[in-house]
Amino acid sequence: MTLTERSANIAVWVIAAATVVFLLTPLVVAVVVSFGSSNLFTLPPPGWSMRWYQRLMNVRGLSSSLLVSVQIAAVATFVSMLIGGMAATALARGRFAGREAIAAFLTSPLMLPGLVLGIAFLQAFRFAGLRDVWLSLALAHVVITIPYIARTLYSALTLFDFSLIDAARTLGCSAPQAVTRVLIPNLAPAFLTSGIFAFLASMDNYAVSIFFTNAWTKTLPIQMLNLVEEQPDPTIAAISSLLIGLVLLLLLLCERMVGLRKIAEM
């Protein structure tokens, strides 16, 4: 190895290490502040306390917004899984012109600015006379979650060897049995990860939700945004830490089920 190569090699690892620290900084800061006793976000904290977690239940609108977010994310993920999964099957199995175009169309909301989608939905729903906040959010969030489902399931189904189903049929399975015993177990990891990422995308969304929330019905990111703007205190760090913990658990589940490497390469 020449000197140039060796120094380039060292530089790569130094920058990578610095990047990892940089990436984790906001998460570590949120967790540390949430356990600190200071309400001024002093770092390092002068002492430790659990009071921001105890206060969580008393913050107005927090638990109701969490409930709204979980409901919307669950409904949107379920609907996307159903119609997105069907579409992915058709695209992976069918032989028809324009397959790639349909796949690109189903993932295209990911390429468009979230605010633009939000405004388009706002004007269209208003024109259609749709006033219900909950229903508007659910309809819009299906559009947000479908790309994650369609993309992941399409690539997983393309890789799946469908002759296995014929083999199961030959060995005496009925068609529904072949699906439940062969297709679903093989594709379960893809369903799980696409579902988790779709759910998180919906839970985290602010760009679309911001146009549909009102004083009574808010999603969690919008409620948190209001709190950060109006009365920032470490309670927000406490909610953030709980969310970080939840996401970490889900990722470890993905790592066990599929391996994060496969997810990163998708």
Partner: protein
């Protein structure tokens, strides 16, 4: 092949999703664009002429593109070496790096931006670090500055740069580098003529995603720099949520949409050019 395209019944499975996306997604977006070009008399460009003849709006466009540019530069400078390291790493180190990249990606942007408000304070970590390394003589406030905004935005969008480059590097044959070395190519030549061209599709992908996300970010500038610094996206949000000036908001939203489509088109064109030359 002369196979006529016959009707394939499995196609029916795609119908619900296609209909849903046409009605709830495509028509509203096209309608938004169309309305920007229409008034009582029919086709018009007046909304855009009015918007572009306002000098302040050019400042807004400049702000948007400048911040997006620097965010992309920082993401590429940190993201490319990180992707290289990730592709070379194995076992526990690789899993740890992947968690460090995917965990922040899956945590909401409001959480991260809130934390950056703390990091960028006068007594925050970055100021302390810059004083300790002698870059600054005394701690300064980074919050409400463009530097702070670029730092926070780069932090949020970095995974979108690392992952596309990583997945391309993963597919590249590592023997190519060795082959070039065996044939006597010096390291710098190898970097520019072997390593970089191989990574190029991933770099094009990462750059276009990050630039696109950075032009349309809303929460990050609202919380990290505030109202006196407007971008197309913050102006769009304000027009709808505060000013109730929907004509302005629809105009800026359409400009954002055109920018996003132009970025996707450019990156598709660039990566196709790459594919042909090989």
């Amino acid at each position: 092949m002369t196979t006529k395209l016959r009707f394939d019944p499995v196609l029916l499975l795609a119908v619900p999703a296609a209909i849903y996306m046409v009605i709830v997604f495509a028509i509203p977006v096209l309608w938004l664009v169309a309305r920007g070009f229409m008034d009582a008399d029919g086709f018009t460009l007046s909304n855009y002429i009015k918007f572009l003849s306002e000098p302040f709006n050019w400042v807004v466009i400049g702000n948007t593109l400048r911040v997006a540019f620097w965010t992309t530069v920082v993401c590429l400078a940190l993201g490319y070496p990180t992707a290289v390291a990730l592709a070379r790493s194995k076992g526990a180190v690789q899993v740890a790096m992947l968690i460090a990249i995917i965990l922040p990606l899956s945590v909401g942007v409001v959480v991260k931006t809130f934390a950056w408000q703390i990091v960028l304070r006068r007594d925050g970590i970055v100021a302390a670090l810059l004083v300790a390394t002698g870059v600054w003589d005394e701690p300064k406030l980074l919050l409400f500055t463009e530097h702070g905004l670029v730092m926070g935005a780069a932090n949020v969008f970095l995974p979108f740069m690392i992952l596309p480059i990583y997945s391309v590097l993963k597919l590249a044959d590592p023997n190519l580098q060795d082959a070039a070395a065996t044939l006597g190519a010096p390291p710098v030549f190898r970097f520019f003529n072997v390593a970089l061209p191989l990574a190029m599709p991933g770099i094009i992908g990462g750059v276009s995603i990050v630039f696109s996300l950075a032009t349309s970010m809303y929460v990050i500038p609202s919380l990290l720099i505030g109202d006196r610094f407007q971008t197309l996206a913050t102006l769009t949000g304000r027009a709808f949520l505060l000013m109730r000036n929907e004509a302005l908001g629809a105009t800026t939203a359409t400009i954002l949409l055109f920018l996003a489509v132009a970025i996707v088109a450019c990156s598709a064109l660039l990566s196709r050019g790459k594919g042909d030359s090989r």
